[in-house]
């Protein structure tokens, strides 16, 4: 099985509202996929449809090679799901909760579970309902990690959590990757946490997938270009298509090259700005790239 998750023309409608439209997504195994988009873009809906929590209106999806509609205990025994809006048996203590979950999975690793509990400083005898949000999420995480699932799906797991907790989360998650078979799918509206982790990024807005690309490729082809020009060049005309968001103030010109190729792009620059100087070409973080996209395609900003 090559792809942990695959969707084909996945569509989900709620009455008149089209939450997800014609989604085609592929998440290869052993990869970390960051699913980005503003609130209400359709990220949660996509995940819920993929996991058969909701039914698709049209199209299909498979998870771990199995059609979503057919997902059963066998598959869920290998899937970990952590979401802020998932219910937990609040009346249980942390211990009771983990013991309860343990019985569901044959691959449950007690030692790993205890290590995580210690690492997260979870209070064993306290009821879930009396835990803070961060603690609850950590408990949920432990209950989804301890059996080393092949596929981990996070739906906005970091919302409102302080950086320390986020850090602990990521640490716990990376422990999973020790096994042979793992895939991580994170949906978030905040790009910072996933920046260093994501192999691939998908951006969704208003139900439509705007972009899917490997982070490396993305970071390789985007450059911020700044230069001083000696002529009053009209920056509007003759600009290549792949140069985004041009700005000019006096003789300072700035734009983003979305198809940067070392050497060729410099030539292009000198062609369009024959007498320029102080050319600065700098790389861009994922966040900066995303902002450019947002502005370019008028996606609502994160």
């Amino acid at each position: 099985m090559n792809n942990a998750i695959e969707t084909r023309s996945l569509t989900k409608r709620f009455g008149k509202n089209i939450a997800v439209q014609n989604l085609n997504l592929t998440v290869p195994a052993r990869s970390i996929f960051a699913f980005l988009g503003p609130n209400g873009a359709g990220k949660t809906t996509t995940i819920k449809v993929i996991l058969n929590i909701m039914k698709a209106t049209q199209g299909s999806s498979t998870v771990l090679g199995v059609d979503s509609k057919e997902l059963g205990p066998e598959e869920f025994a290998q899937i970990g799901y952590v979401s802020e809006n998932q219910e937990m048996p609040e009346w249980m203590t942390v211990d009771q909760f983990l013991n309860y979950c343990k019985k569901m999975y044959s691959t449950w690793d007690d030692k790993f579970c205890n290590d995580l509990v210690e690492q997260f400083s979870l209070p064993s005898k306290q009821k879930l309902r009396s835990l803070s949000r961060g603690m609850k999420m950590k408990a949920a995480l432990v209950s989804s990690l301890a059996y080393r699932p092949k596929l981990l799906i996070f739906d906005e797991p970091f919302g409102g959590l302080d950086p320390l907790v986020r850090d602990e989360f990521i640490s716990g998650v990376l422990d999973i990757t020790e096994s042979e078979n793992w895939t991580i799918f994170i949906s978030s509206h905040d790009i910072d946490e996933v920046e260093r982790l994501a192999d691939r990024v998908g951006i969704i807005d208003k139900g439509l997938l705007k972009l899917v690309e490997q982070t490396e490729v993305l970071q390789n082809r985007f450059r911020r270009i700044e230069l001083i020009t000696n002529e009053a060049t009209d920056i509007k005309s003759g600009f290549p298509e792949e140069w985004f968001l041009p700005k000019q103030q006096d003789r300072a010109v700035q734009f983003v090259d979305s198809q940067y190729v070392k050497g060729k792009s410099e030539d292009n620059i000198r062609e369009i700005f024959p007498n320029c100087s102080n050319i600065e070409i700098s790389g861009m973080s994922l966040r900066e790239i995303f902002v450019v996209f947002a502005k370019k395609f008028k996606i609502s900003e994160l």
Binding site: K48, L51, N52, I53, M54, G72, P73, E74, F76, A77, I79, Y81, N85, Q86, E87, M88, P89, W91, Q96, Y100, C101, K103, M104, Y105
Partner: protein, 597 residues
């Protein structure tokens, strides 16, 4: 894939304190049913509290079910997109089976076993115990299922409670509004029959059959809907099916014609119903009274009552007038005056004329020492508007009415030796003598009457659910006497008091009716001359006898009274009025004698 043990355990853990309360409640109810009567007869204060406790416990049991079911189901909700188990390796089928087992074991099987134990310890035996099982199961399940359906269609307790209350309120409003409409516009009762199925009232076994069919339907549909929701989580479709199923239920229950629970009819071949039955009215006693109907406050109606007479019945039988239809006066000039609806339900006086002769016939050799001398009671025979009455009074014509009579026969139902602890088991009934108390002028006998009222017992007369007038005929229906076999002497019970009644059933019919009764027998009264003393000697050869009125058939007759006129005034004699007055005073005096507080 099927039963999930850890899920069962988890659910148990979740509601363990409630389950403890539940268990204790059932235990308390059982204990009360088993020992309650003893306590009630020995401690008078307990008599007051016993029925209260029983009703309270039943109510609590129902309340607990209403709360426990959603707690169980909604911990692993079937609605919405946030339940915990959706992404865990718990199969839908497993969930369904585990939850069903839990609910069945704890909320159905447990009370079932408890109640069966109660029945057994109360002396119910053999096939009756088995007959009780399906009835109890049905009753429990029918109560649980609506709440179960509500729980599987709502995501959490708050919604469950809200929707439940709204549904209840809607139904309540519909009932209130339709009642008001029916009161103000009686014609609409026909339309309302669609909702309330009035046609079944009056035929208890037909009503019970309809109810049973409905219950079975509810249980089956309930299971299907629940399974559907668990397995597909297709909430919209479950709700659609629910609505359709409800409408179907409304349809097939009206009209309902299949009376499969009809009691085994009395073996008519063993009895001889006379064809030579003739009916008439006692000409000496006719009463006119005013009636007011709700709608038109000003218009008065006149009601004419008389005492009906029936002759030609063989010994041991008597007839009760059930219904008068098509009542009218036909006049020589060709005019016809139709009567309005006449009501024949009344409290029959245990009159000397009607009931003593058949009673004495059954007693045969045994002499009844203190027969009652009450007068016959009046029956309404005509009803009309005041204006019509003024027009037709004293006008002579022929009175015509179609009458339905029920023919009864007195039979010896039970004999119990008059010793403390003696008992008699007969059919679905039991009489146990609890105590025999000496009195200044006689004796009091305290008994427990136990009766199983099983739905599927065809030897039992079904009780109507709408039985507003419960046991109003009880005076003549069951007659208790003490009989001295050696001397062939019998005394009727002067006073019969219910100590308390009714146990062990939530809101439905009592499966095990236990009534503690006290019968006072006295040899000092104003009706008969000097009577033999009821003393130790007399009592040593005595037994308690119960004579039952058994319905052996119905007869249809026509009242045709020629030369009859609607009288202008009542002809009830002062003698009768005095007699009625005296009876009341006597009763009062005797009550004070035995209960001197």
């Amino acid at each position: 894939m099927n039963f999930i043990p850890y899920l069962f355990k988890k659910d148990f853990l979740r509601i363990k304190s409630l389950l403890l309360v539940w268990f204790l409640l059932i235990l308390a109810q059982s204990a009360l049913s088993i020992g309650g009567i003893n306590l009630a007869t020995e401690f008078l204060e307990f008599q007051m509290f016993l029925p209260l406790f029983t009703k309270l416990f039943s109510f609590l049991q129902g309340l607990m079910i209403i709360v426990i079911v959603p707690l169980l189901i909604q911990d692993d909700s079937l609605v919405g997109a946030t339940a915990f188990w959706f992404t865990r390796p718990i199969s839908r089928k497993g969930l369904l089976i585990t939850k069903s087992c839990f609910i069945f074991t704890l909320l159905v099987a447990l009370p079932l076993i408890a109640e069966m134990s109660v029945l057994v310890t109360n002396g119910v035996t053999g096939h009756r115990i088995l007959l009780a099982v399906p009835e109890i199961l049905m009753e429990k399940l029918v109560f649980i299922i609506p709440f179960l359906i509500l729980a599987i269609l709502t995501p959490q307790f708050s919604k469950y409670a809200l929707v439940g209350i709204i549904i209840f309120a809607v139904f309540a409003v519909i009932v209130i509004i339709s009642s008001v409409i029916m009161m103000l516009l009686p014609k609409t009762i026909k339309i309302m029959n669609i909702f309330y199925n009035f046609e079944l009232i009056g035929n208890p076994s037909l009503e019970a059959s309809c109810r049973t069919a409905k219950d079975i339907y509810i249980i089956l549909i309930g299971f299907i809907l629940v399974a559907h929701q668990f397995l597909t989580r297709y909430t919209a479709r479950t709700i659609r099916w629910l609505v359709v199923a409800y409408l179907v239920m409304m349809c097939f229950t009206r009209p309902w014609n299949w009376d499969f629970l009809k009691e085994v009819p009395y073996d008519k071949s063993a009895v001889n119903i006379s064809q030579s039955l003739s009916v008439g009215f006692n000409p000496e006693g006719v009463i006119i009274s005013d009636e007011v109907r709700f709608r038109k406050k000003d218009a008065r109606e006149k009601s004419i009552s008389a005492k009906e007479t029936v002759s030609g019945l063989p010994a041991g039988q008597f007839a009760i007038l059930k219904e008068l239809k098509d009542v009218k006066m036909k006049y020589a000039d060709g005019t016809t005056l139709k009567s309005k609806y006449v009501s024949t339900s009344k409290k029959e006086a245990f009159s000397s004329e009607k009931f003593m002769p058949p009673l004495e016939a059954v007693l045969g050799q045994i002499k009844l020492l203190n027969p009652f001398k009450e007068q016959l009671s009046y029956t309404e025979i005509f009803s009309l508007e005041e204006s019509d009455f003024n027009q037709y009074r004293n006008k002579t014509g022929t009175y015509l009415a179609d009458a339905d009579f029920e023919i009864y026969k007195y039979e010896i139902g039970s004999r119990v030796p008059l010793k403390q602890g003696a008992r008699d088991l007969f059919g679905s009934e039991q009489i146990v003598i609890y105590d025999i108390l000496e009195r200044p002028n006689g004796v009091s006998v305290i008994i427990a009457e136990k009766k199983t009222n099983l739905l599927f017992d065809r030897e039992v007369k079904k009780k109507s659910r709408y039985n507003f007038a419960r046991d109003i005929y009880s005076d003549y229906n069951r007659v208790y006497l003490i009989v001295n076999k050696k001397r062939n002497e019998a005394f009727l019970a002067e006073i019969e008091s219910n100590l308390y009644a009714d146990m062990m059933a939530p809101f439905g019919p009592m499966r095990l009716e236990t009534k503690a009764k006290q019968f006072d027998f006295t040899y000092v009264n104003n009706r008969s001359g000097p009577l033999p003393k009821i003393d130790k000697e007399w009592l040593s050869d005595a037994e308690l006898l119960r004579i039952d009125a058994v319905k052996i058939g119905t007869q249809h007759r026509t009242f045709k009274i020629e030369n009859f006129s609607l009288p202008s005034q009542s002809t009830e004699t002062t003698q009768e009025i005095d007699e009625m007055d005296r009876q009341l005073k006597l009763q009062d005096k005797q009550m004070k004698k035995y209960y001197p507080e």
